[in-house]
């Protein structure tokens, strides 16, 4: 098939970007979206002569595993994070989802918390910072009791696994009108809150992760749940409800403690 691509090109964070139009022909319906971009890049290299301006350099985009698990890829394609298919990442999108003659608009994730590095590559370091704020169980290596010493109901373990499937790609943020990271945060909070190992620090965890999220420039969640619809791993919005319960529980508990500490009530 033959396609017209309108791709966001930007040399670096401090320079201005723009859309650039490219034509690409003879693309197989069986190839993946990123393999289509590989072919465009190969063509840009082959067609260039001498020093070239940045729009003639290969298009930069993040990717690594190319099988939907590392969370590195993430393009905003025709107005949708990860493009026109559901339950997939950009690297799993195949050209059979497009028609001959289509025009495809490709943009990076756009969010204040994700500065653009180049072209379609953004800095998602803020997501790592949220995990660093508390997305773990505080155990050191060694000296751990037998793994079967605490049975966990299959139901809770399955729900924890559902939440833990998050690949941290940031599509939830990109899909949200407020650029909220609520689905991402709630997935980690839920996974650990559902397991006895994570319960012990649940209250501190939810508070510090939400606080960190707020401080990093992500917006508020206004419960429109575009994130759930665009999540490549179909993480459920019920995790957001669980986060809210955990958060309120933690707050009440904290206020009680403050009152107690002050000798009141």
């Amino acid at each position: 098939m033959n396609l017209t691509l309108k791709i966001w090109r930007q040399p670096s964070v401090d320079k201005k970007g723009k859309f650039e139009t490219y034509q690409i022909n003879d693309i197989s319906a069986d190839c993946s979206f990123l393999e289509m971009l590989d072919q465009l890049n190969e063509k840009l290299i082959n067609d260039s002569n001498g020093p070239v301006d940045f729009t003639k350099c290969p298009v930069s985009f993040d990717h690594d595993c190319r099988e939907g698990i590392c969370g590195m890829c993430g393009l905003y394609i025709n107005g949708r994070p990860h493009g026109p298919d559901s339950g997939i990442t950009t690297c799993q999108l195949h050209m059979r989802k497009f028609k001959d003659g289509d025009t495809i608009v490709v943009e990076p994730w756009r969010s204040k918390a994700f500065p653009i590095i180049r072209d379609l590559v953004v800095d998602r370091g803020a997501l790592d910072k949220i995990i660093q704020a508390g997305g773990y169980v505080s155990v050191n290596t060694g000296g751990i009791p037998d793994a079967n010493s605490i049975p966990i109901s299959k139901r809770n373990s399955d729900l924890a696994m559902d939440a833990a499937s998050c690949i941290g790609c940031g599509a939830c943020v990109a899909s949200c009108a407020n650029a909220s990271a609520m689905l991402f945060v709630s997935a980690k909070v839920s996974q650990l809150a559902l397991l006895p190992q994570g319960k012990i620090e649940a209250k501190e965890r939810v508070q510090s992760m939400v606080k960190e999220m707020d401080s990093l420039g992500f917006g508020n969640c206004s419960n429109t749940y575009g994130c759930e619809a665009e999540c490549p791993k179909e993480i459920s919005k019920s995790n957001i409800a669980r986060l809210n319960r955990e958060f309120i529980g933690a707050k009440v508990c904290y206020e009680n403690e403050v009152t107690r500490a002050a000798g009141g009530a």
């Binding site: 082959n46 190319r66 799993q92 169980v137």
Partner: protein
């Protein structure tokens, strides 16, 4: 005289590790604070090592090329992780896991290392559960297991088809905790391009900041490489696009010997190649062989009819199907080790019975399992893999059998290390897939994750202390020291050379060319003539690369072409060493199949008299041949036998 010493502790095999731990040197807490350790790689091996070393109080700097440590290639592991818990009461034990791993590796691994691996395997599961890793459980709330190839017990722990993801996120979360505490400093989007050696000891690395292109120098009292495997030398593999040999290759050039470079694992169940534009291959987990049955048509006419679509796979009756693994290996059936399964598929396809458009595919069929267990059970076990398959191939595996073919997947070879995981360069360690140590000539399924975490959580914290105890008086070194400056200069010169060639072909062009040669002559079947041919072809491609490479864009900016150029430049040298090693090893063992050396039934024929050694290659210069050192392998606790899965 050999320069290699494996440093295996004394005593009976079951006591070696305890003996070591009881007698190794220690570093006291106040001295740990004065010591810097560099860890390259944030996969299971690197992340677990860095977190554990940080917890102990060392200053750790950790590097990865991705934007986040959570994205290391370990994330893609699907099927599971082995441990000798014997929760199923089916006769498992530390010894049996040790035995299976040595046998699975076709008796080309060091017994003492493998025993230690089996010994610490149980602690790994405990550790991961404590971190909140949601392993699969049964209705009673206890941990569930599945079976993997090369074993007759069920010892594989799993988290759906995303075990690597969950284990890595567990390690990443403990790493994140240390980053927050300040014991570990994270350097993401960094390409480690060289290892700095001062007075014979590893003291640092040179990196390129991938966002800005800046070249940086980092000091460490010790350097730990956990950079994964080099399967991408074949261009097409199941490895992540960025997986590379560069840091390991730099170490090799600085004096670290390279162990068994030709030992490559070709995984039997991958989605077949379907076009020239293809950038990578996708694995379908080995766990599928628990319930899927592998077959090709018995009659050549049916092959033809399938190809021109006048016949559907499900219309071929039972008696006209050849379940060739069940036929050839009745004891293990579809669960034979990977090397055996891959070769059997190749044998059928070479004989003309392959299916699919290219004839390079076999069926993996779930109809019997769906009939026996019901669709919902199959879905619960493999749902995400079936979905992945359908998205790529556009066919529904619940209705028609999957088509699969072997693909490059894992490299058993890697940097040679002693029992302490130290390379031949003092202070330089190699962990996880990047070392050569535990899997011999063939790795069993679910053992790489085990090894990565064993090395990182439970081995290196002890063994590195044994070395660092003598380094507490070494002050932090300035990165302006001449060795750092010289290494930085060499790195910069090489990068500038890439840009200055201004030739006519992209990096990928050369990579694909190399990949074809490697797959053709150093892939599933190898022979003297082919290997010699490859030894002629690779230098030609290398020369062409250095005179005709074309790169758009600049050095001092985000430029993936520069990253790729460095990786391919190293693969072009690495490939040659692999071929040389394959040529030298005139026996068939595990994944290394020399066509001249096979039994009448077409099975691999080992030569224990001449080749019961690990090859450790020493670099002597770009234009001179490497020197081979042999680590003779001693089998005291396991009898050397021809493998038999029949």
């Amino acid at each position: 005289m050999s320069k290699i010493e494996s440093k295996i502790p004394d005593g009976p095999i079951a006591e070696k590790w305890s003996n070591f731990k009881s007698h190794c040197k220690l570093v006291n807490p106040s001295n740990k604070r004065k010591i810097d350790i560099i860890v390259v790689g944030t996969g299971l091996a690197g992340a677990s090592a860095a977190a554990s070393l940080g917890e102990l109080g060392y200053n750790v700097k950790i590097f990865c090329y991705q934007d986040s440590p959570r994205r290391a290639h370990s994330i893609a592991a699907q099927g599971g992780i082995n441990a000798a818990k014997n929760y199923q009461n089916d006769g498992d034990s530390v010894f049996r896991l040790f035995y299976d791993t040595v046998k699975g590796g076709d008796y080309r691994a060091r017994e003492a290392n493998v025993y230690r691996l089996a010994e610490v395997s149980n602690s790994i599961i405990d550790q991961c559960v404590a971190q909140g890793v949601p392993f699969a459980r049964d209705y009673g709330g206890l941990l569930d297991n599945r079976s993997f190839g090369g074993a007759q017990v069920s010892r594989t722990f799993y988290a759906r088809g995303q075990t690597g993801q969950q284990l890595l996120l567990g390690a990443y979360s403990t790493l994140s905790r240390q980053i927050k505490k300040g014991t570990v400093k994270m350097y993401n989007r960094r390409d480690v391009l060289d290892v700095v050696v001062v007075d014979g000891k590893a003291r640092g690395v040179i990196t390129r900041n991938l966002t800005t292109g800046e070249i940086e120098k980092h000091f460490g009292h010790a350097v730990v490489l956990a950079t994964g495997g080099y399967g991408n030398v074949f261009f097409l593999s199941t490895n992540a696009m960025g997986s590379n040999v560069t840091p390991a290759w730099a170490a090799y050039k600085k004096g670290a010997f390279f162990g068994n470079p030709c030992f490559t694992q070709i995984h039997p169940t991958c989605i077949p190649v379907h076009g020239d534009f293809q950038s990578k291959l996708t694995l379908m987990s080995e766990s599928l062989r628990n319930d899927g049955r592998i077959w090709v048509p018995k009659n050549i006419e049916d092959v033809e009819k399938l190809r021109n679509k006048t016949l559907k796979p499900k219309d071929i009756s039972e008696e006209n199907r050849d379940y060739y693994l069940e036929r050839r290996y009745p004891a293990f059936g579809n669960l034979v080790p990977r090397d055996v399964a891959s070769r059997a598929a190749k044998e059928r396809c070479d004989a003309g019975y392959g299916v699919g458009a290219t004839g390079l595919a076999v069926f993996l069929d779930f109809s019997e399992a769906i009939g026996r267990l019901g669709k919902s059970v199959v879905e619960a076990r493999y749902g995400n893999l079936f979905q992945m398959y359908e998205k790529i191939v556009d066919e529904n595996p619940y209705e028609t059998p999957m088509m699969i073919y072997p693909a490059v997947h894992y490299t058993m070879g890697g940097i040679w290390v002693d029992y302490n995981l130290m390379t031949t360069v003092p202070g330089l360690y190699a962990l996880g897939e990047c070392n050569f140590s535990d899997h011999g000539a063939n790795r069993l399924g679910a053992s790489a994750l085990m090894q990565g975490l064993a090395d990182g959580y439970f081995v290196i914290p002890y063994t590195i202390a044994d070395y660092l105890a003598d380094e507490i008086h070494t002050p932090r070194m300035s990165v302006d020291a001449p060795e750092f400056v010289a290494a930085e200069k060499a790195v910069k010169e090489r990068l500038e050379k890439f840009i200055s060639i201004k030739g006519t072909h992209s990096v990928d062009y050369f990579h694909k060319k190399l990949g074809k040669v490697m797959w053709e002559y150093c892939g599933m079947g190898r022979n003297e003539e082919g290997l010699k041919k490859a030894l002629e072809l690779i230098p030609v491609i290398r020369k062409e690369f250095w005179s005709d490479l074309k790169i758009n864009g600049e050095l001092n900016e985000y430029n993936p072409e520069i990253e790729k150029a460095g990786r391919v430049a190293d693969f072009l040298e690495m490939g040659e060493l692999m071929v040389r090693d394959a040529l030298n090893r005139r026996e068939s063992c595990g994944g290394h199949f020399r066509e001249e050396m096979q039994t009448e039934e077409g099975e691999a024929k080992r030569d224990d008299v001449n080749f019961a050694y690990a090859a450790a290659w020493e670099y002597t210069g770009t234009d001179s041949e490497p020197v081979l050192h042999k680590e003779q392998l001693e089998f005291k606790d396991i009898e050397l036998k021809q493998r038999n899965y029949k």
